[in-house]
Symmetry: D2
Subunit: 284 residues, 4 copies
Amino acid sequence: MERSYRLIISCPDQIGIVAAVSDFIASHQGWITEAHHYTDPASQWFFMRYVVRAASLPFGLEELRERFCPLAEEFRMQWCVYDTGIKKRVVLLASKQAHCLSDLLYRWRSNEMHMDIPCVLSNHDDLRDYVQWHGLRYYHFPVRTNDKASHFAALEQALIDSEPDVIVLARYMQILPDSICRRYPARIINIHHSFLPSFVGARPYHQASERGVKLIGATCHYVTAELDAGPIIEQDVVRVGHHNTVDDMIRLGRDVEKQVLARGLRFHLEDRVLVHGNKTIVFA
Amino acid sequence: MERSYRLIISCPDQIGIVAAVSDFIASHQGWITEAHHYTDPASQWFFMRYVVRAASLPFGLEELRERFCPLAEEFRMQWCVYDTGIKKRVVLLASKQAHCLSDLLYRWRSNEMHMDIPCVLSNHDDLRDYVQWHGLRYYHFPVRTNDKASHFAALEQALIDSEPDVIVLARYMQILPDSICRRYPARIINIHHSFLPSFVGARPYHQASERGVKLIGATCHYVTAELDAGPIIEQDVVRVGHHNTVDDMIRLGRDVEKQVLARGLRFHLEDRVLVHGNKTIVFA
Amino acid sequence: MERSYRLIISCPDQIGIVAAVSDFIASHQGWITEAHHYTDPASQWFFMRYVVRAASLPFGLEELRERFCPLAEEFRMQWCVYDTGIKKRVVLLASKQAHCLSDLLYRWRSNEMHMDIPCVLSNHDDLRDYVQWHGLRYYHFPVRTNDKASHFAALEQALIDSEPDVIVLARYMQILPDSICRRYPARIINIHHSFLPSFVGARPYHQASERGVKLIGATCHYVTAELDAGPIIEQDVVRVGHHNTVDDMIRLGRDVEKQVLARGLRFHLEDRVLVHGNKTIVFA
Amino acid sequence: MERSYRLIISCPDQIGIVAAVSDFIASHQGWITEAHHYTDPASQWFFMRYVVRAASLPFGLEELRERFCPLAEEFRMQWCVYDTGIKKRVVLLASKQAHCLSDLLYRWRSNEMHMDIPCVLSNHDDLRDYVQWHGLRYYHFPVRTNDKASHFAALEQALIDSEPDVIVLARYMQILPDSICRRYPARIINIHHSFLPSFVGARPYHQASERGVKLIGATCHYVTAELDAGPIIEQDVVRVGHHNTVDDMIRLGRDVEKQVLARGLRFHLEDRVLVHGNKTIVFA
């Protein structure tokens, strides 16, 4: 993959933004390989993602940022430039279930997903061997009854030490405390095993079986302090019927969960997800 | 389509039901063309649907019923035999929106759906011409402010007069009173424009847009006295994104709604749906 | 829907196209509501679709075209501006089967699809009443054995007289002669009842059943002189199984066909489809 | 999972088969937990799959087979009884690509798939470490230019030594010689990276990109001597667009391939697939 800069912008909509930005890029002979815009009609807010070949520009990342600054200020942009040459640091949180973790590790070791994994953190020791076979660090922070606080304290410190760009809850099964949620806004990605907002909370497949739905699903979303209520990145469903037990649903659900999580994380790693209130713009 | 009898059975599970039923059919040289069984493991309740060629049996429907009776009693069956030569009478309830109604009328006039339509009932007059072009009766019962009761009284009487086997709410948009719900248990089919149990009640596409879901859906279910909570027959979804307005969702949703309603109604017309508590067995 | 201009561009890729076009629009205070770009990496060909609010510009369509001309020449663009205030003229060709035609007529009469239908042409008289109920003209050109030529001569003349922007083969079931194909390049849309390139030619559902596939599909494509080989606009599939007869496939296929045709035609009517060689760019 | 016997039957259709079989089971107090029948209308051939709790019968597998024999002869059945207590032996053939292999190994080690894996055979050594981490044997049989025969001779001998019930080509990328194909009829399962019969042979994603299709797929099928033409077990598709390169298709296709292969193999392991000519009955 050729090295590129990804320019991500959101700002109040007005005439001339695209002209100003594309003019800026073109004036430096920048070669745009992908371009997406969107204006939210309700809020009149503008969103943009440009991918520019790094080699086409006569300067590096720092100078690009410097030169872009005045334009960004003129349009009151929230903006970022990402260098595809720098992999994002993704800390994985897991518990006992391996399906999402295994899937992400496969995508990492086969170079399908461009990320570094500083470590895997877990409240159980079950997946240590598998993770370590990959040459990755594995930290086990047990959850003691009546003392969740010390688990979360250790976890938070380990997160801080790992300097993550993204934290992925790969079926981690614990509700993160507010302090961690607030420390990493729009940077903690969870996979919920239901088609949200149906079946919020625990045991969604049991709830789905009870209700007799004909499709079950999974939802990849950013974690906020409110449980299962953060901005949705990606969802998908699979058909079930009366003959499917809860165990069948759990098995079928695993395949949807890992697919949806992988797609959602990929969107995030490629800087395709822009958060706007409690919703996402996904330039897929 | 060759004339057949559909034998629908549910009863407490025990050894020998299938043997007894298939033996009964075989002893009269009955030719089975479709067979489905299912036992619900939680309740140990057994469900069965057999289709037998009418011409293969040496007697008619009445004698079939008589001869089957002792066996049904032995196994404490709830049972029914339907003759495919007798079309079900389907009363359609509509409002102003034509998409579901048009779709069902197309399937009726092209003989895709084997049903008789004694009449179409509506709280608006908008669709009269279209319905009457098909040679069908159309009754308009307006809903007067502060007097819903007289609308529903007229509606209920018209339903009774129509002797319906099934009532289809083809986007009828009014909540039926309890009396009508209870008069026709598991015989009123509604299409709800969301992927239930998400977004119960009014304006589900607005709710879906607000929540930022990535799939919207539709649910075909039997109507019970509790709003949008009856047994689900069929569901499906369609992908949406940040760029889709509520109007887009309404438009995309129409296509899912009519497909899901048509599939659900077809299942019902073919006696494929067995209700068990608040869930359905669908022998599709 | 607010009146807009749709600017559709394709040209050799080079730096500065987006800047030049967006600068042109911005310099006249044009308000862009949708923007799509794409560069085909193999051919280095650039494609663009901009939607601009008509009321935001200080001049009308003619002056817009005139003022844009120099820029278009500079970048050697193939380009077009469409006024959403002018509905496209869509001539429908049908045969005996009503499902696609009924579906399109519903979308037309409910204002879901913005088009004018100057007439419906058919080689059979079956659908006359239904079409005429809509207040539309219906012409019947029978196909006589050993004299297809006179059918096609009459058809071609009727097409010419109707001044169509688009011609839709809504299950017309005849192979158009070369002269008609060539007269309307990328303007004749067909719905083929298979997942092309599988099962080219006649009786695709019979072929699919013979091969034992587990999904059947439909393909909406532009018609070229080579049978079933033109640029694909849209496709979709539906699951089938061993228990589905060819008749079942035909029935299930109808639902996919009409959905795929409606989506493909909508893309075309909204000027979202750009043809590039034998492939399409669809700015959906 | 409780131990069960799976009774798989195919025979010419006639009246009384179900009665005879269910009577046989019931007469021994056998408890049927799953039952599927199907008659192919064209060939009038009957197919059946019954699952009976082992503990409900007063005898073991051998006696069940003995006692069933006369009935099987009477109806000229091709039949089999499988004991779910005996895992099927699945030999995996792989090459360099890990996605299908990794996916199957995960499902094996998490007990999602009930099978024994005597060994993994490959024409490359790349996946040895990963396979051996699982405690499984890995044999590397390189393919030497101008001497494919010795590769296949070694492979065939290793297969014979492994006494496989099923052989899975998990993206093995070599065309098996006739001798191996014929030795294991309906027991070699391949995953083809296209929606067959489209794009038979090599580089299907390149072919798909060239043709401009809007969906790509994968096909799980039994291997016969004719390339990519054996009975299809399962298929699925994923949406692509003009912006997807061949590399994107390869990446997206991997996810479909592994899902389709896992579903097809699961059907086979659960004795749900009955081959009839070049088609399958899948009692899913």
